[in-house]
């Protein structure tokens, strides 16, 4: 067995190792019902990370997702009454539009995505503050249950939330691995100049990738909003860095072209296990953040595939 063949499998091996370690230390962690609850709690983060994967896969990054999700929680809360279930469409369109504008600014105005998405995140934050009147808004409980109550029900014992996440993962995987668009994403990520030279419309591909990222961030915000039954310009704060971490730990490098959405699913689970483990192992609250960082360095050191990185920037 040589090292080259093991490398692509390192992320899920790390996940199994982590689960085993925590399970040995505290067997109650392995209780399936508990694991399902843990997994459904992490669904909004996962969907956001799923979108982030596309931005990173093409070699960019999207720092606006957290503010987009914030904006969407407000949009969903404000327009739930008048739009009903169609508010979901409105939210996703808003997310896709913001993402597309990020893509446009990046490709046509030559502003690096790190800056353009950060700046558009500020714009989304303003939108959220304006629309919410800078207050925490609450959904009408009856309307919420009538429209989105099904999200929290279970089908065959599995929370519908998890099924939504699985459905989105399947759709994104299909898009990434089985369509021309997916292949061209890989081409752009692996070598943008070569992609241009072979006649791909790189600008359009990138704009679409950012739009996709925005749309998924919106779905994540929508689920978060329905979960907490409200909206507020700061509701999703703290998600951005975790979403990036989930993508990177899963094995999609910032340079793009390698990895993908399945890696992100594993990465999100790794983040979830590390966080949950600290609760199960009764780590003191003041130590959790530090231990999270240290375990993260170890996890990243274990999972990233360096063979394709000539220079480590």
């Amino acid at each position: 067995m040589n090292m080259e063949r093991i490398k692509p499998h390192l992320p899920w091996l790390t996940l199994v190792l982590l689960v085993a370690l925590v399970g040995i230390a505290n067997p109650t962690f392995l209780n399936p019902a508990g694991l399902i609850v843990l997994a459904s709690d992490v669904v909004p983060l996962f969907i956001m990370a799923l979108g982030m994967t596309f931005a990173i896969y093409i070699g960019g990054i999207d720092l606006s997702v957290q503010q987009l999700a914030n904006l969407v929680t407000v949009i969903a809360t404000v327009f739930l009454m008048s739009f009903g279930i169609w508010v979901a469409v409105l939210c996703i369109l808003a997310g896709a539009l913001f993402g597309a504008v990020s893509g446009f600014v990046t490709t046509r105005l030559y502003v690096p995505s790190f800056v353009s998405t950060l700046a558009l995140g500020f714009v989304a934050l303003s939108g959220a503050k304006w629309l919410s009147g800078q207050r925490a808004l609450h959904m009408d409980a009856e309307q919420r249950d009538a429209t989105f109550g099904w999200v929290f029900e279970r089908t065959l014992g599995i929370p519908n939330e998890l099924l939504i996440a699985a459905g989105l993962l399947a759709a994104c995987w299909f898009l990434q691995s089985r369509t021309t668009f997916g292949r061209s994403l890989k081409a752009v990520g692996a070598g943008e100049l070569a992609a241009v030279a072979s006649g791909l419309n790189v600008d359009r591909i990138k704009i679409l990738a950012f739009a996709l990222c925005g749309a998924l961030a919106a779905i994540s915000g929508l689920i978060f909003s329905v979960k907490l039954s409200g909206g507020d310009a700061n509701l999703a704060n703290g998600f951005l860095l975790l979403a990036i971490v989930a993508v990177l730990v899963g094995g999609t490098p910032l340079t793009g072209g390698v990895g993908g959405v399945l890696n992100t699913a594993i990465g999100t689970l790794i983040v979830m296990v590390i966080r949950a483990a600290m609760v199960y192992l009764e780590v003191d609250a003041t130590q959790q953040q530090m231990i999270f960082g240290i375990v993260l360095i170890i996890a990243i050191a274990l999972t990233i595939d360096r063979s394709k990185l000539k220079i480590v920037k």
Binding site: L109, F114, F122, K129, Q289, I291, I311, K313
Partner: protein
């Protein structure tokens, strides 16, 4: 002979032009606001925005962020990125405050040792950061992001969530004593900026940052120990974050876990707005000074002219894009990531 106003000179000075434009445009809004209320107002002369008092206010609020942004400038010059500043600033601030109180609690005693100690802590964190990045071959984005979590976590562990107050009048003189209308901390920041400018332009290390950022393979092939330059860069950045932590404590007199919060995006934004390219090799600490001033002038100006607070972040976002667009040479860039 080349003309004075070539494309290159224009692009080079674009951030300065943006800054001057902003300094002149906010008073126009002030003037029209005053006219709308039927008051007399002479452009620039009656401006509250351009008053010494307000300029001092801008300088004070920009000082800690400038220290942090100077540090990350060197990292970005090398084509890397450092996201550990929030954690490092918190740890140095809290470490300084505890050491300061333990050693006597006033600058007139041995407690002054807490100041070099804070810079040492910053350098040590930078060293770990650099070693994790270089030796474990983890891209700086991830290594420093994780180190940032460790830093914030360590600060939380030290304080247990409490605030540490530093009330020594001698240390607080950084803010309270003014020379020519500006508090001492502004002069300290200017001296530190000068030192960083010296390192950037007059030392081998400074030139090496550009060599690594301009073409790492070439630099390595010409015999440069790139890994050593990288680790030294992260240590230097750590020292800058330590200065940022000291200034932040000097400004509000409190050290806590959230002292470092919000420094990450503001400092990187400022560096980029100042004209230092994220792909490395272009820019420098003077660009960063201009960038930091642009960001804080915008923030302050919007408050002075009375823009509703919810619009302010959007205006900042759009102006950031405009500033970057103006200072990017589209001819020399084939694509951006």
């Amino acid at each position: 002979m080349q003309g004075f106003m070539t494309r290159e000179t224009l692009l080079k000075w674009a951030p300065v032009l943006v800054l001057i434009f902003l300094l002149l445009v906010f008073p126009i809004f002030e003037m029209t606001n005053a006219w709308a209320k039927g008051k007399e107002h002479i452009y620039l002369l009656d401006s509250r925005f351009l008053s010494i008092r307000n300029l001092a206010r801008i300088a004070i609020s920009a000082t800690p962020a400038l220290m942090v942004a100077l540090g990350v400038t060197f990292i970005i010059l090398m084509g890397s990125i450092d996201l550990s500043m929030e954690g490092t600033v918190s740890v140095t601030a809290v470490g300084f405050a505890y050491a300061f109180l333990w050693l006597g609690g006033t600058l007139a005693s041995w407690a002054w040792l807490a100041i070099p100690l804070a810079l040492l802590i910053g350098a040590a964190i930078g060293l770990i950061n650099g070693i994790v990045h270089v030796k474990l071959r983890i891209p700086s984005f991830m290594a420093s992001l994780a180190m940032g979590f460790v830093g914030t976590g360590f600060a939380l562990l030290l304080t247990g969530g409490d605030r540490v107050r530093v009330e020594d009048p001698l240390f607080r003189a950084l803010l309270t004593v003014r020379w020519m209308n500006f508090p001492i901390m502004v002069y300290v920041a200017a001296a530190f900026l000068l030192l960083m400018w010296f390192i950037q332009t007059r030392t081998k290390l400074g030139r090496n940052f550009y060599a690594v950022g301009g073409g790492e393979e070439l630099a390595a092939a010409s015999g440069l120990n790139v890994n050593r330059v990288r680790i030294l860069g992260f240590m230097l950045a750590g020292i800058c974050y330590g200065m940022g932590g000291l200034m932040a404590v000097g400004k509000i007199g409190i050290a806590e876990t959230v002292t470092g919060a919000n420094f990450m995006f503001i400092s990187i934004t400022a560096v980029v707005v100042g004209g230092t390219a994220l792909w490395g090799g272009i820019g420098g600490v003077l660009n960063t000074l201009v960038g930091v001033l642009i960001v804080f002038v915008i923030n302050n100006g919007m408050v002075v002219i009375g823009l509703p607070s919810y619009i302010q972040s959007a205006v900042l976002g759009i102006l950031v894009i405009v500033a970057v667009v103006l200072s990017t040479d589209r001819r020399s860039v084939s694509f951006v990531k």
